[in-house]
Subunit: 273 residues, 3 copies
């Protein structure tokens, strides 16, 4: 099932418009190519509507936002909505500054998102309308663990219902829900947190999965999460003692490049609740 | 001959000013260092004229252009023209949006370019004044193949004549022409298309080759194309089964770093038509 | 001693706000993660004060500055001063343009820097108020060598006294001084100059070392310099004949990721003058 979602990406080569931060943008582009999609980046207000129009999906990531790119986010988001395109929000650092929190909330008011993907602290900030995110990583006190799993699933389902979007909360345990069902995913490795931008990469890749699987959005989003986590596991198996986070970054993208349907179907670790 | 062009880069360490997109800028800088040049990046209008003045060449790449960087492109381009510096245009995504097409055409009106380098769809857009580029990759229907080669060569020679610039169209078969002669280059591998920014990297490197070979611009441009393509071939030979596009990216830059005159002269695959 | 400084970073995971150039920003983030810190990037004036407030240190790097990010530098720098945070200035390209020189000098007037770190040409530009830096690399005529070492140490001590900041001048021989004492460091390899942004990476990492070692600022800054240089040596030992500057970049970050107290204490090559 999830393997088929990946195959659909490779067969249709979805073009994804990314308004994303300049920290991890190169990795986002290479991950999109690795999974079978095609990336294009543009944040200039005068440029974004044309670019969104030729794409199948739009990935809005608010890391390193600025006044100009914020305008670009609203313009392209509305255009994508008009055209019925997939639109993903990655609220990087929501809760860490008033501008980031406010921009994310306003985007949610004015644009219908297909998926909202973030860490638990960012998603809680959006649900509560304010937050105390410490930088771009989740607060430890927010973490989804086996102990807090039931509560977290209920929270994610509820927020999916309120927003009408698929909600993807990623961390040690990942949750992906459309309000009815929740994928609880246990792929990945903790060392992935030592690489900048694995979340941003996932958001870009997930947008391609949505475009390629328009009738199975929940499965498409879950398949992207499993692909990233499983790639992290496969990549780790190729690490040598002298390797570190920079080589690990490359090996994860490589593992996505080499991922196929069978490998994903066999390696995906999830239950549906 | 082409190997000598590379050696001239290594011997003179040309300083190249790049106004380029934030997606692939790091790779552009590392490729410039790998081939023996020295990169500096600046797009702020108040900064660009000073920076251009201390450089030997200017590489203008319109990917992720914005209102401020567009001003920077015109200011630095005019300053570079005044100073007699090499100026290269990489019209990333021309044809994909009105802003990109319009900016590229206006740059061509106001600035004399030494070389214009892009994929076939982008270059056709510039020649026709409009286009339908799908994102940042060439349309399949435009591709230069053995079947369309004669027509493509005639087109490139004609556009070189009209613009007064060396025209470099890169793809499966690369064409580099100064209107009289056309290098038809068959280096490279299709997998290079799975790495973001090999075109941008080539534009940065080519600018260094122009600065280092002012009396042999056509050969300099062709040598840069062969260096990139041959590096793609050498890098591929070092790939292991678990490697993918991220490792391939690193290996291509590594292969440029290790390229020498003899390797290039022996490995370059071209005919002059 | 220096190894303890590294251990303090790993034990406290300092959050560092970076306003840095878009060329090397991804590597800065990964190096900060590799050494045990946590990076966040933000340059938008409306965002920077909130982001600085949740961090322990601020790294201001003027490469690819623009009108908006310059405002962000002043706002965040003043906020960091108010809060008693560590603030580092990396004056990339000071001397190469009026805007860069002027911005760096004005930042020094209005903000108290804990450390100023640059190459010798950049630092001389700041000391003299003007300069002739050729791009982003140091002029050969300025280089700190065994012959010019005494003069250079006196210059650095004097500039540290005048500014009240720790001054770190990096090159073939690195000097780190607080006016009383000067660490003369001989780690590193010349091939590091063939990678874009090793200086930027060092500035990001050094800021984390300052935050984690508030009572030993000179030692903290020197430990960061030794960590980067030693990582360059260790990484070089893992290079194969086909490897080049791109793989070397990855291996250096990997070596920082794997650096521990003992390795640093044994490998650090310095004298205090």
């Amino acid at each position: 099932m999830l393997g088929e979602c990946l195959e659909n990406v490779r067969n249709t080569v979805p073009l994804v418009h990314n308004i994303t931060n300049y920290v991890t943008v190169n990795d986002v582009a290479n991950v999109l190519l690795a999974c079978g999609g095609s990336p294009i980046m543009s944040d200039e207000p005068e440029d974004v509507e044309d670019i969104t129009s030729i794409c199948g999906g739009l990935n809005i990531n608010i890391g390193t936002l600025n006044q100009s790119s914020i305008k670009g986010m609203f313009l392209s988001g509305k255009k994508a909505n008009e055209l019925g395109h997939m639109v993903l929000l990655d609220p990087v650092g929501a809760g860490a500054s008033a501008l980031r929190t406010g921009t994310a909330l306003k985007l949610m008011e004015e644009i219908r998102f297909t998926v909202i993907r973030g860490n638990i602290s960012e998603i809680k900030t959006l649900a509560l309308g304010s937050g105390t995110t410490k930088g771009v990583d989740a607060d430890l006190s927010d973490a989804v663990t086996e102990d807090t799993l039931d509560t977290a699933i209920a929270f994610v389902k509820d927020f999916a219902k309120k927003t009408g979007a698929v909600i993807a909360v990623t961390g040690a345990i990942d949750l992906v829900s459309d309000s009815e069902r929740c994928y609880v995913i246990r792929n990945g490795r903790p060392e992935m947190g030592k690489i900048t931008g694995t979340g941003c990469q996932l958001s870009g890749m997930m947008t391609a999965f949505l475009v390629a699987n328009p009738d199975e959005l929940l499965e498409g989003a879950a398949a992207a999460v499993c692909t990233m986590g499983l790639a992290g596991e496969i990549a780790w198996d190729h690490m040598k003692p002298e390797d570190g986070n920079s080589t690990y970054r490359n090996r994860i993208i490589d593992a996505i490049y080499n991922m196929d349907r069978d490998t994903l179907d066999k390696g995906a670790k999830y239950e549906v609740r």
